[in-house]
């Protein structure tokens, strides 16, 4: 399959750019932040996105979605990365939709997928417990209790966790932290008894939460994937999330880079446009190449998710590793090349640096994924 967008995907990209530039520019994020929005995103905007088929981009038409597939979802994530648009797109439309599509029972699909497509539900994935990403080190317990389970433990860095209606939670039904076996995934009502949520305001002004679970009761119906063998499902969902984040990082990096080259062409110092200084030119040219590489790996990971979902973990890691590193470089070069003005809160470039930091950390930073690839490649 050629490593390019189809005509349809190109059209989606164009319309997304137009829509976001108009309805959800960086100023919108700034406004949510400065007004200390309780939800951290605009419900109205999210509804509009749903009307355009974005919320249900991974939901098949039979469930009311647009069924555009992962490349389509990545195209949207990339464009949202450009405008730093805050929405439950990653948590709900990518992560939760993937979990439901690929691993849930028909009842759950029928119940939730249509709501995702209409933006009537927000769902969040609760996986990490410590500072760094590590699905296998899940310690949270799910103990058998009657026909169901009781969940106890705590989760951190749950994107959109504080506004979610439903949480998809990784917990241990067997084994011990560090082992892949023994993990199961549960669908948990966010308002269930024993669930306590603390909104954590992050550096990127987006939503995240820490969630505490104390003897939270779930039934066997709430299991996603296989009991004790949820790691495979979890990795599948994470692959989708990683590729989505890679796409978002790619968009943010591209935009930060474009703002920088634009600035290089305008700003004058020592009687010359600073973009004429060769040292800056070479750094910009190098960064250009790196960003081109990010575009390639991201598209590859998204295509793999569409064409060979079970095999996409490797390229998703590749994409996340590369996109995280390059987006970081892009934000650093952007701030340095902008000089003092880039350091001011008034100017947008700092917001890119902040969001990129969060997105590259989420679901494994570059070190995590390079490490993972090294293991998979046998060294």
């Amino acid at each position: 399959m050629p490593l390019i967008l189809t005509e349809e995907q190109e059209m989606l990209k164009e319309s997304a750019r137009g829509f976001l530039d108009e309805k959800a520019p960086v100023a919108a994020l700034r406004k949510l932040r400065d007004e200390r929005s309780e939800e951290g995103f605009s419900r109205a905007l999210w509804k509009e996105m749903a009307e355009m088929g974005w919320a249900g981009i991974l939901v098949e038409e039979e469930h009311g979605g647009s069924g555009f597939g992962f490349v389509g979802a990545g195209v949207l994530a990339e464009e949202m990365g450009r405008t730093l648009t805050a929405s439950p797109f990653l948590s709900t439309s990518i992560l939760a939709a993937t979990a439901l599509n690929k691993f849930a029972n028909d009842a759950a699909k029928s119940e939730y997928l249509p709501k995702i497509a209409t933006a009537d539900i927000v769902m969040a994935l609760a996986v990490d417990e410590g500072r760094k990403h590590g699905p296998a080190v899940t310690a949270m317990k799910a103990e058998k209790s009657g026909n169901g389970f009781k969940l106890s433990g705590s989760k951190a860095f749950v994107a959109d966790g504080h506004v979610a209606d439903k949480l998809i939670v990784a917990a241990r039904t067997a084994g011990s932290p560090g082992e892949e076996a023994g993990i199961s995934l549960f669908l948990v009502d966010a308002k269930a008894k024993g669930v306590e949520r603390e909104r954590t305001i992050m550096v990127d002004s987006r939503n995240a939460a820490r969630v505490n679970f104390e003897n939270v009761a779930v039934t066997g119906e709430d299991v996603i994937g296989e009991i004790d063998n949820g790691h495979a499902a979890l990795e599948g969902v994470l692959s989708a999330g990683r590729a989505g984040l890679a796409a978002e990082l790619s968009g943010s990096a591209q935009q930060a880079f474009e703002m920088t080259t634009t600035y290089l062409k305008e700003r004058t110092q020592f009687g010359k446009v600073i973009g004429s200084f060769q040292a800056l030119q070479h750094r910009a040219a190098h960064l250009y190449c790196e960003i081109e590489l990010v575009k390639s790996v991201t598209l590859k990971a998204l295509q793999d998710l569409d064409n060979a979902f079970g095999m996409a973990g490797v390229t998703a890691s590749l994409a996340k590793a590369k996109a995280g590193e390059v987006a970081k470089l892009a934000s650093q070069e952007a701030v340095q090349m902008h000089g003092g003005i880039g350091m001011t809160d008034e100017y947008d470039i700092g917001l890119y640096m902040k969001r990129i930091r969060v997105a590259q950390e989420m679901f494994g930073d570059s070190a995590y994924h390079a490490e993972r690839l090294a293991r998979l490649r046998g060294y």
Partner: protein, 401 residues
């Protein structure tokens, strides 16, 4: 006993007798600095007493001449004083841009009248100064500054805008680079002038950074009328009219050396490896749980240590009589780039916890804010690019384009 030994003994005794015990906690950090000035509110009685006693001895500025409020100490004596203060973990009684920047400038370029009027209040912490150099359109290219200063016969009329004036909103006076001859070549029409911040037409506006609140301000001059003399025979302009660039250059090098010499401070605190081990833990062999991060940390520690030793070597060379010259650019460049790298690693190690921006757990995003703040290190006080230019030209003697 040699004179210096005797001096050390006396100093130690005097310090021990006069420094309040609250001032002996070795506390650093911006919140513990005594900045002085008209509007200064002492954080404690001890802070006030300590300043008064030290100022009375001239030891807030121990190297300055006694006539101007200083201690009149020799280099060796200053070193001994600082040694003893450090040993007893004493706080500095006073810090200010007056001490760091304006004082040295006046001592080198000022008239006796200027020194007499301005230096003693600096030494006593009575007048707080800020620095008006940068402008929105003159960043690295400082000499392209445009703030106008017109000769109106009996006064100067100042119009323009400065940016990155630290603490301008809390300062009493400002030393400013202004353009007094718009027709002259870029570097030849600049003067170094002293302005009371209370002057009508002078106003300030704080700058919020990506890292949050900051001491930086924008400072505006709207038809600010500045007298030619601030007192009998006390010129408002320091040095020769239109030769302010000399003063500026002198202070810029001075500033770079200060940043260089203070680079140790940049590297203070816990080691990167120690911090990383604390955050991510170690495996059964005692190695960081994150192998890739471990490599980056180890490489950074090698470079950081090598950098510290280089500062030490340059200091020792300076003591042995070799000037530092343009090598201060190396310290500025490498030290600030390293500090950025260090904080990137802290952020890597602290993971999602380090990304929190509000709340007690993160002390309102302390780490994240410090991380973002380091990004300015390689911009302020001359960008890394400017330092590399200086090294290329002055040390390597590579030709201009």
């Amino acid at each position: 006993m040699s004179d210096l030994e005797a001096f050390r003994k006396e100093t130690r005794e005097w310090l021990d007798a006069n420094c309040p015990k609250e001032m002996r906690d070795g506390a650093g950090g911006e919140e513990n600095i005594c900045w002085g000035g008209r509007n200064w509110k002492f954080k404690s009685e001890a802070q006030k007493v300590w300043l008064e006693r030290m100022a009375a001895k001239g030891w807030t500025v121990p190297a300055w001449p006694k006539d101007y409020g200083g201690g009149g100490l020799s280099k060796e004596e200053v070193k001994i004083l600082k040694d003893e203060m450090r040993k007893m973990k004493m706080r500095s009684p006073l810090e200010s841009f007056g001490i760091w920047m304006l004082g040295p400038a006046l001592l080198k370029y000022g008239t006796h009248e200027q020194k007499s009027m301005f230096l003693p209040p600096i030494a006593r912490g009575e007048i707080r100064w800020c620095q008006g150099y940068s402008e929105p359109n003159a960043g690295s290219d400082l000499a392209s500054l445009q703030t106008k200063c017109e000769d109106k016969g009996d006064h100067w009329l100042v119009n323009g805008q400065k940016i990155w004036t630290s603490y301008a909103d809390e300062s009493d006076w400002i030393f400013v680079l202004v353009r007094t001859d718009p027709k002259a070549a870029k570097h030849d029409g600049i003067s170094f002038i002293l302005i009371d911040m209370a002057t009508k037409g002078v106003s300030t506006k704080p700058i919020k950074l990506i890292s949050g609140k900051s001491p930086f301000c924008e400072t505006f001059f709207d038809d600010a009328v500045v007298p030619k003399e601030h007192g009998a025979g006390v010129n408002a302009v320091v040095g020769t009219l239109n030769r302010g660039w000399d003063v500026a250059k002198y202070l810029l090098t001075h500033e770079r050396e200060m940043i260089g010499a203070g680079g140790g401070g940049l590297l203070g605190g816990r080691g990167i490896g120690e911090m990383a081990a604390h955050y991510v833990g170690v495996d059964e062999k005692g190695r960081l749980n994150d192998p890739m991060l471990r490599t980056k940390v180890a490489q950074a520690e090698v470079d950081g240590w090598a950098f510290l030793l280089t500062m030490e070597r340059l200091k020792d060379e300076a003591k042995a009589g070799q000037g530092m010259g343009a090598k201060s650019s190396m310290l500025k460049y490498y030290g600030t780039e390293f500090n950025k790298r260090r904080f990137e690693l802290f952020m890597d190690a602290s993971g999602s916890e380090g990304l929190e921006w509000e709340g007690e757990r993160s002390e309102d995003g302390k780490l994240a804010k410090n991380w973002l703040r380091t990004k300015a290190n390689s911009i302020e006080g001359g960008t890394s690019e400017v330092q590399l230019n200086i090294i290329s030209k002055r040390i390597l003697e590579l030709p201009d384009a």
